[in-house]
């Protein structure tokens, strides 16, 4: 029996079962951002590991294959960008200006605030890519000397908050253009924002996906330039 515990089979099976249960709950909630399957599944899995006295390294080794898929998934973001090339060319100027402004705002405000709280460099490095999609955020954080697990959770929190506040905030600002609304929520809250935008309007959803994909590249590029200067 004990050699079975050492194979990836056990923890992969546990992870998939817990995740699937979390996904069912998330669907029942009408995909409420606070019921995101990762937010539900993670504490349960941590509880299981603590209860069975399983060290994280064992779990991480067994579930490596899941994390491996993040790489090809990031590469695949080229496909939605390519599909929207006509839009990108038509609206190059507003998209580029909004993207740059949004990416810089996200980095500077997030890093600045944790700096005010006296956080060490590894936390600043983990929060800097907070607006990118999770796999890019984790990779960038690791590159900057941050903590990928913390980056993953920070990116998730950004998504939850962005998806919940976008509609009231953008109404308050009296922005009616679905392209601007969608793009903003994609740049600030990545895939969560895009999922929310698609619930409201197809145009908003398409621009949100574009914002997510473009900001993954923009934030990673800005941060790597900054990192090479420091």
């Amino acid at each position: 029996m004990s050699e079975l515990v050492a194979t990836p089979l056990l923890w992969l099976a546990v992870t998939l079962v817990v995740f699937e249960a979390a996904d069912v709950l998330s669907r029942r909630s009408g995909r409420h951002p606070l019921c995101h399957p990762v937010l539900l599944a993670t504490p349960v899995l941590i509880g299981v590991l603590l209860a069975t006295k399983t060290p994280y390294s064992t779990y991480a080794g067994a579930t490596q294959v899941l994390g491996f898929l993040l790489g090809p998934a990031v590469v695949g973001l080229a496909v939605p960008i390519w599909a929207q090339r006509a839009t990108i060319r038509r609206l190059a100027k507003p998209l580029a200006c909004a993207l740059l402004a949004g990416a810089v705002t996200a980095i500077v405000s997030a890093v600045g605030i944790v700096w005010l709280f006296g956080a060490p460099v590894e936390i600043m490095a983990s929060i800097a890519p907070r607006a990118t999609t999770t796999p890019v955020g984790m990779a960038v954080a690791a590159q900057l000397g941050g903590i990928p697990a913390l980056a993953a959770v920070i990116v998730l929190m950004s998504g939850v908050i962005g998806a919940m506040t976008a509609t009231p905030l953008l109404n308050l600002l009296k922005i009616k253009d679905y392209r601007a609304r969608g793009f903003a929520v994609g740049v600030s809250a990545h895939g969560f924002g895009a999922a929310r935008a698609f619930q409201v309007d197809q145009t908003a959803g398409a621009f949100a996906s574009l914002g997510m994909a473009l900001n993954a590249v923009a934030t990673a590029t800005i941060l790597s330039i900054v990192a090479s200067l420091i």
Binding site: T15, F19, V38, T42, L49, Q64, L66, G67, L69, P72, A73, V74, V75, G76, A78, W82, A83, K93, P94, A98, A101, G102, T105, A106, S109, A110, I113, V114, F117, G118, A119, I123, I127, R130, A131, P135, V136, A139, A149, L150, V153, I161, T165, L169, L170, N171, L173, I175, K176, D177, R179, A180, V185, S188, A189, D201, A216, A220, S224, S228
Partner: protein
């Protein structure tokens, strides 16, 4: 199917190689994304399977970062010490980024054209 997966892996591999050889500080997967974009531009043809494969990967992105998120169990000290600061930073930064991005887009687009489809009040 295999061809599409191979294309993704080769782009990522090339990205990792470029990352290591040139010291370009972008993650290998992000360089791979740019390489795939270049491939799509230079080799024009229908790519139904590639779209299917990347669509499947994107649709199941969530479970792929569960193992990393579970790693938070080892960061208890940091979270209890800086959790509040992180929460404040994420909330403020997310709202600020939303506002700045939308306002800049409208300011620049508005100078060039009339707004296209108007949104209904109350929707996002």
């Amino acid at each position: 199917m295999i061809g599409a997966i191979a294309l993704l892996l080769v782009c990522q591999l090339a990205g990792e190689v470029i990352h290591r050889l040139t010291g370009l500080p972008l993650p290998g997967s992000v360089i791979g994304m740019v390489l795939l974009l270049a491939w799509l531009a230079f080799v024009p043809r229908e790519r139904l399977t590639l779209t299917q494969v990347t669509g499947w990967l994107t649709a199941h992105l969530s479970i792929m970062f569960v193992p990393a998120a579970v790693g938070l169990m080892e960061e208890g000290a940091i979270l209890s010490r800086y959790g509040l600061g992180i929460l404040v930073a994420v909330v403020v930064s997310t709202l600020l980024t939303l506002a700045v991005t939308a306002l800049v887009f409208r300011a620049v687009a508005g100078r060039e054209e009339e707004p296209e489809p108007e949104a209904e009040e109350g929707a996002s």
